[in-house]
């Protein structure tokens, strides 16, 4: 069973709808025991880092995520989920889950014609192959909506980048963790491909 972590963040049902469409059984759950028992974990979300971390802690989901990560359970972070698996977010100066070392700064664009949030379809440049990027090419574009972006401490944790004035990490990951700043559930065929790959993934790179 795939567990979608419920921490009152937006967008959870969109991810479930995509998995339902793909015929993959999943459950949206706020219960840390479900998360620990899950075969794989989806950590999506739209919202504020500070508020979200507070709810994760109240429900013991932050520690459940760390335990599941150590146990090798495949984890897919999406958007806010991707930002708060790092150790810190500048949004509300929030201490986060910390599955991998890194922080989450706000875009500081110099060019006034670039708008924040970075919202819409954009391409990615793939820095290293990954089983979740099977059938995904650099011609594919993905749907982004974000004002902050993930910045892992280690260069090797960056799997793909996107450019918005400057390059920023669009996909990060390490071992059994894979996380996208964009929304695969709203990114058409390429996004569904990625979700399908995740649901067949054993967590090995």
């Amino acid at each position: 069973m795939t567990a979608i972590i419920d921490y009152n963040a937006g967008n959870l049902t969109s991810v479930k709808r995509a998995l339902d469409y793909l015929g993959i059984s999943c459950v949206i759950t706020p219960d840390r025991n479900d998360v620990l028992a899950a075969e794989r974990i989806l950590f999506p979300g739209v919202g504020h880092a500070g508020t979200s971390m507070q709810i994760l802690r109240e429900r013991g989901l932050d520690t459940a995520l760390r335990e599941a990560y150590s146990a090798g359970t495949p984890i897919l972070g999406i958007c806010l989920g991707t930002q708060i698996i790092l150790s810190h977010s500048d949004e509300g100066d929030t201490s986060c889950v910390g599955l991998i070392d890194g922080d989450c700064p706000r875009f500081a664009v110099q060019n006034n014609s670039l708008k924040i949030p970075h919202m819409g379809w954009d391409g990615i440049s793939i820095k290293r192959d990954h089983p979740l990027l099977r059938h995904v090419t650099e011609n594919d574009e993905f749907y982004f909506v974000h004002s902050y972006y993930p910045r892992p401490g280690r260069e090797e944790d960056i799997i793909a980048e996107c450019e918005y004035e400057a390059l920023f990490p669009a996909v990060i990951g390490c071992k059994n963790l894979f996380a996208t700043q964009f929304h695969p559930e709203k990114s058409g065929r390429a996004g569904l491909e990625l979700l399908k790959n995740f649901c067949a993934w054993d967590g090995a790179e």
């Binding site: 006034n112 708008k115 949030p117 919202m119 819409g120 574009e141 749907y143």
Partner: protein
């Protein structure tokens, strides 16, 4: 760099797809779920549904449409028309929409934009405005006026000022619909779109008047729009999504071409 977006607008009445010309003479032309699915398969970037159902007791039909679309169409879409409250918006978002559109309700109660923006995030809140060209005056220095209730009621509010106010109130995006151009297929209102795009720092979606790919090119370049909305040229099969996107791509615009 972000791609320019091609957005299709589907007017829905009692659960059926409708298309109006200059806001009158609406006629039913099909099933919105089927059309949405077809456009998604053909590579559309985003969808907008406007519920033009007259009676409020039939509004739940729209929620059903939203739910069906969200279960098989995996691109962002927004829903507008008849939304009066934050609760209305919540229903639509829970049914699977990415964003909500406020138009008349925002003019009558601007606080709704702020409330929805705080509840769901600015990226969820689209301020949609119907605009007509008028004589410049003290109240309407730009010569563009906001009109509500489906184009029937002029408000004596300047459109450029209203756009700026919408951003301040917390809207994450603007749809600028020219009533003069709507349904004419003679091209978008470039001056209006550009004036608003230059004034605000949120994405602007141009609407009304798109009759051929060249019109989209004009509004995405000279008109400075981030996205262009089309309706009848798709619904009546005059152009395919691929034809429009290939045209724009060939003329040098960054478009999502892999789908």
């Amino acid at each position: 760099m972000l791609s320019k977006r091609l957005i299709a607008c589907l007017d829905v009445r009692n659960g059926k797809l409708a298309k109006s010309i200059r806001f009158v003479n609406t006629k039913d032309i099909g099933d919105p779920v089927e059309s949405a699915r077809k456009y998604y398969d053909e590579g559309l970037d985003e969808l907008v549904f406007y519920d033009i159902t007259a009676s409020s007791d039939k509004r739940d039909i729209m929620i059903d449409v939203v739910d069906k679309v969200a279960s098989q169409v995996f691109i962002p879409f927004s829903v507008g028309g008849g939304l009066r409250t934050v609760e209305d918006a919540r229903k639509v978002l829970l049914a699977g929409a990415e964003k909500v559109n406020y138009n008349t309700a925002a003019v009558e109660n601007p606080g709704i934009i702020t409330d929805a923006s705080r509840a769901f995030g600015a990226q969820c809140v689209v301020l949609s405005m119907d605009v007509r060209s008028v004589q410049k005056s003290d109240a309407l220095p730009s010569g563009y006026e906001i009109v509500v209730h489906g184009g029937r009621m002029p408000m004596n509010i300047d459109a450029i000022q209203w756009a700026a106010r919408g951003e301040e109130l917390g809207a994450g995006e603007l749809v600028v619909n020219s009533i003069d151009a709507d349904g004419t297929k003679a091209g978008y209102e470039l001056n209006l779109t550009r004036a608003i795009a230059e004034r605000v720092n949120i994405p602007v979606i141009a609407s009304g008047g798109g009759g051929k790919p060249e019109h989209l090119y004009d509004v995405l370049t000279a008109g400075k729009a981030d996205a262009a909305l089309v309706a009848s040229i798709l619904h009546y099969g005059e152009y395919t999504i691929r034809e429009i996107k290939e045209y724009l791509h060939d003329r040098g615009l960054k478009m999502r071409m892999s789908f």
